[in-house]
Amino acid sequence: MRVKAIQRILGLLLMLFSFTMLPPILVALIYDDATIVPFFSAFCLTFIIGMVFWLPVRNYRADLKLRDGFVVVVMFWTVLGLSGSLPFILSEQPSISVTDSVFEAMSGLTTTGATVITGLDELPKSILYYRQQLQWLGGMGIIVLAVAVLPMLGIGGMQLYRAETPGPMKDNKLTPRITETAKALWYIYLSLTVACGLAYWGAGMSGFDALSHAFSTVAIGGFSTHDQSMGYFNSALIEMIAVVFMLLAGVNYALHFLAWRGRSLSPYRGDTEFKFYAVVLLSAAAISTLYLYWTMTFDSLPSALHHGIFQAVSIGTTAGFTTAEYHNWPGFLPAMLLLMSFVGGCAGSTGGGMKVIRVVMLLKQGMREILRLVHPNAQIPVKIGNKAVSDRVVDSVWGFFSLYVVSYCIMSMVLAATGLDLVTSFSAVAACMNNLGPGLGDVGANYASVNDFGKWVLCFAMLLGRLEIFTLLVLLTPAFWRK
């Protein structure tokens, strides 16, 4: 463990992050909010803390080892969750406790989109903007951003990058150099955001709402500037724009990169994960629509159609925007949608959940066992596309799945033990772990009613989901700390 190297990078990252407190000040100036002082103090505090970390070891030079990468990433996300909550704590509006502030910041950064704040419409614009911005930064991963803009992270950057980006096969770099890869990802991310913002704006949102929602849509976050979320705009056009961009953001960014570089759509057509992702979301949308229409939840077919599609995509990609109270929809729909969030987005996207590729591999592995019963002597590789996946990867996917399920069960039990009812606790943990946002039962609209201890557990769940379990859990094993 190279404590000094870790400390140095952590300090640098914190100082870098502190600058993200400045845009909200600008917003505050424009809208004449009273939040300039809290944001400025948060900026100073974060910057100084980073400085205190960095100054004593600023001249220390050593590459990060694989292990150090985990520590940096986890520490950074934790510290970021805490320092990101400073504006909420310092600002008079919203007047929420420290626990709630941390929950809100963590939910923003991990792109969960679960909120404890009610009465969003009355909040200062700068606070609203800040929440959206948190999601946007967390979406592609703030460390990937740091790797893109801080070339000195160098080879250590690879260790960080791997600990942060989602998906089971992380060795596939888009370009030979890590900095270039990170830059490419952020360019794509930025272009998607700009396109989304313009589309929203063109469809009738105000400039502020368009920007804010573009942030949370492309990050697959789910925060909104209104209590009614997307439902506030009551516009089918806006909802369909959101659907398109959520779908795009949930696709592996490597595909976007290849398509953009080759100026063709063929990378999408040939990708197994993309096809599965499309099929799952399409069928979910179809089932939702038909079921909604059949149960007469909405009186007309078009209405059922756009609510069904929007909600299926929003929950399926783990964004968590709502246009209707989906948790009060009839029968099996809420449960089906919540279960879909376990599948989540594609690897290397901004979506949450277990990632489509893992589910595909699990299914194929299951099919393989069945085939083995039929042909006991057959060699049956697990194939993705036309390539066999090495058993090592399949094993790690199984390991991931088992830990995911176990963590989910344990945290749900803990939450239930704090006095929440079963539907609430199970759905809250699912919604947080999958970085979805709205759950069922008492947490359908917001998390204000959850007790303090429960919120800390959920914070942990969100981080666990965002860092894909292994990165966080590895720090909790004794073997990791043994010299």
Partner: protein, 457 residues
């Protein structure tokens, strides 16, 4: 620069490590997933798994916009086909391939754009043989590097007590040798570089790099240490490609013995030798070495393909009385380990080879690059082009050139004449300028110095 390296063996991976630290886009191709994973963990490069000569694999490795392809798989044929495909399908500008088999090398017409388009052929064995040959020709030198086709040489020696100049400042060098022109390019003391100035005092155990015309090398070396007697009796351990080639290159000028442990191999080699004696036996066999008068051997040179065997047999030979022992060592960590001990010179094959590759990676008109001290330092021969207005070096005195810290201009070769650099020496167009960089990080600045402005064409 976008570079594709085919083959993640010892050469491929050490080249990748060397180039990746210099803001090059490196993609490395190999069939061995484990090897690639290990490299990927260590270096900031991209890896592609697959047969290096398949067009599809090359395409995945980004051959479409690669500027250089370096084929160093262990198969000559794969290397050649890969270069052919890169040329035919992707028009890759620079194609470098390793070709080992002598049969291919005998036909110069073979490797031309209309037949097998390889721009540069590298043969590690040949490079090492020449390297060792030069070391044997200059007893006492740690490294001998050629510039301008051998007119000027950069030599590394260890200063010893008893050398006339040891303990004296560099500015007294001309007083010691009025007729000889030389320049000390760098001094490494306990592994750290010192930029030599007039007042710098050479201490015992310093590693001194100096540049001089080839004919003057011996007299300069005499200033740093007592001169070793010229080498006469050489023992080579290992009859592989390197050992055999080395014996053939040396047998006419020296008294050469070659030891190989494989009976058939030693028999076959003996048939190809004129005067060298081929011995069948174990190079680490004490009795064999004593029997063959190891105590009066000038140089014992262990060049088997096994690092450990090389190190141990060289140490044994030293113990038994060989004057100088050299050992071929592939593993970088071993080099540091043994060089301070019994083994006089550790020959690192990749180090010897990487220079010839770097020559093609460097921007500007660079004719020769020698990589030193495990790639940390570099000696470069670059040609100055342009005129006073378009070039940053031509027409300027050396003291007026904005060299980065840690860089010295050692010598200039003008019309086959070696001019040792002084602060007021002016550089003319067409000069071969020999530079020494203590810190490779500064290479970009030097490259820019020798690039001519776009307006000059």
């Amino acid at each position: 620069m976008k570079i594709i390296i085919l083959g993640a063996g010892q050469v491929g991976s050490s080249v990748a490590a060397n180039l990746a630290s210099e803001a090059n886009d490196i993609t490395i191709v190999d069939v061995d997933v484990e090897l690639l994973r290990e490299l990927q963990d260590r270096l900031d490069i991209r890896t592609v798994v697959g047969e290096a000569s398949y067009p599809d694999v090359l395409l995945r490795a980004g051959a479409e916009d690669a500027e250089m392809i370096l084929a160093v798989t262990n198969s000559d044929e794969t290397n050649m086909v890969a270069c052919q495909i890169a040329y035919s399908l992707f028009r890759t500008p620079t194609k470098i391939a390793r070709v080992r088999a002598r049969d291919y090398l005998g036909y110069p017409g073979l490797f031309r754009p209309e037949s097998i388009p390889i721009d540069v052929m590298i043969s590690p064995e040949k490079v090492i043989i020449e390297y060792v040959q030069k070391l044997i020709a200059h007893p006492g030198a740690l490294q001998v590097l050629d510039f301008a086709g051998g007119l000027a040489q950069l030599v590394a020696v260890k200063a010893y007590y008893g050398g006339p100049l040891v303990g004296e400042p560099l500015k007294r060098l001309p007083e010691h040798m009025p007729s000889v022109q030389t320049r000390v390019a760098a001094i490494f003391r306990k592994g750290y570089p010192i930029i030599p100035e007039g007042d710098t005092v050479i201490e015992a155990d310093d590693e001194v790099f100096f540049i001089a015309a080839s004919k003057d090398i011996r007299s300069v070396m005499g200033e740093m240490r007592r001169l070793d007697k010229p080498n006469k009796r050489i023992v080579i351990a290992g009859g592989g490609n390197i050992g055999k080639g080395l014996a053939q290159a040396l047998e006419n000028d020296y008294n050469v013995k070659l030891i190989d442990h494989n009976f058939n191999r030693s028999k076959k080699i003996s048939e190809e030798m004129n005067s060298a004696i081929v011995l069948h036996g174990d190079a680490a066999d004490e009795e064999l070495l004593v029997e063959e008068n190891i105590e009066s051997t000038d140089v014992f040179c262990a060049v088997t393909n096994d690092d450990e065997a090389n190190i141990l047999s060289a140490m044994l030979a030293k113990r038994l009385g060989a004057r100088k022992v050299m050992s071929l060592i592939n593993r970088a960590s071993y080099v540091d380990l043994v060089e301070s001990g019994d083994i006089d010179i550790a020959i690192s094959p990749h180090q010897a080879m990487i220079g010839s590759l770097l020559t093609h990676v460097r921007r500007g008109d660079v004719v020769m690059v020698h990589s030193l001290r495990r790639g940390a330092a570099e000696a470069i021969e670059a040609i100055a082009h342009g005129d006073e207005s378009s070039s940053k070096v031509v027409g300027r005195a050396i003291e007026d050139i904005a060299l980065p810290a840690g860089t010295t201009i050692g010598a200039i070769v003008r019309n086959d004449e070696v001019i040792i650099a002084h602060h007021d020496t002016r550089i003319e167009a067409g000069d071969h300028v020999i530079l020494f960089l203590v810190d490779k990080q500064k290479i970009e600045v030097v490259e820019r110095l020798f690039q001519v402005d776009i307006t000059f064409l």
